[in-house]
């Protein structure tokens, strides 16, 4: 599970892509395409390989005017699933 000090990074070969035909955003990964909802895209757009998970959750909470704990819990589930599928990596 992703901890507050962990720094999430999208590894090489995993990238956000605007789907100009269907509209919206997708995450392109080796042999997989994940359609992203607004929340998923917002979380992934914050990942810069520099800031920790705690910092990202705080930024999202501020941007969406939502409780930080709630945002952290939601993002943790989403990012955890990406970790398991190797679409995401952690830098400590």
């Amino acid at each position: 599970m992703i901890g507050p000090d962990d720094i999430p990074v999208l590894p090489r070969g995993v990238r956000l892509h605007r789907d100009r035909v269907r509209g919206g955003w997708v995450l392109l990964a080796p042999e997989r395409t994940l359609a992203l909802d607004e929340t998923g895209r917002a979380i992934l757009a914050e990942i810069d390989g520099i800031r920790s998970f705690a910092a990202i959750a705080a930024a999202l909470a501020a941007a969406y005017d939502a409780p930080e704990a709630e945002i952290a819990a939601d993002s943790q589930g989403f990012l955890g699933a990406l970790l398991d599928r190797r679409f995401l990596e952690i830098r400590q």
């Binding site: 090489r12 892509h17 035909v21 599928r85």
Partner: protein, 361 residues
Amino acid sequence: MSVPPPIAMLAELTHRCPLACPYCSNPLELTRKDSELDTAAWADIFRQAADLGVLQLHLSGGEPATRRDLTDLVAEARAAGLYTNLITSGIGLTEKRLRALDAAGLDHIQLSLQGTDAAMADRIGGYHGGFERKLEVARLIGQIGFPLTLNAVLHRQNLHQLPRAIEMGVEMGARRIEVATVQFHGWALKNRAALMPTRAQARAADAAVAEARARLKGVLVIDYVRADYHSDYPKRCMGGWGTTGLNVTPEGTVLPCHAAQTIPGLVFDSLRDRPLAGIWYEGAAFAAYRGTGWMREPCSGCERKTVDFGGCRCQAMALAGDPAAADPVCIKSPHHAALLARAEAFAATEAPEILWRAAAG
């Protein structure tokens, strides 16, 4: 039904290949080099594909590395906005070429594994020294940093090597391994007796995958296609005929799946005559088995009809002699019992010598 845009395109850049795998998915009638599309034609097709909605491009063959313009093709595909995946045996990829592919923006490499030691791999691939070469290519891939998927086709002769294949995936730093039990059409159909796994082998593979998945969670993703002869229901093929993906042959013919040409009576369009969008949305071969309208009993009244879409059309053709029949793998198919008996009979015989695929001219 309203037709969604395709997500994936498999570009068979060439049928030429230094290997000669006995289960090769290329057709028995291989395209010659002088009929292959040139760089500009492929670049135009990549742009058409991206405009149509394709996101993922699989550069395949034959061996795509036998195309001298492979790096240019990758650059063109990236410029068109496609995610580029190279499906290769590794033969023909030198360090210099891999670095050029890196600079061209290649996103991902899928490396095929014919066996887990030189004796097995070089015999199945019919290419001496191929295994050593592949290990070297895997090392270079890791060094450059390409994301890697290992891809192993399993059959009676090499199924016992599955645990070692998974270990090799970890050692090579692959993120994924795809293990697929051989599908019987094309060249593989000629080798059924040599390649048909036994039921015991299929069970051992199931167990090995389950164990490795639990142990390697978050380390190595294992995609596993089990022997469908030993399942009750067929798999959805190509995500549903004409709904998710398409194939382009080396000469520019567009197919709903790589084996679609084994179905007599289907008419395929060529990109030399018609744009891709027209072929996808209006082409006769795509319309033929799209959705559920073409189905008959037992599929038409079945609650799984939009789950598996009746399974594989090419398998129905090959094994039931009728492309609109239920996939004979299905327990509801009248051909199921005979199919199972035949599969067991093939698996029970002394395995004959394998027959390698021919070379493309």
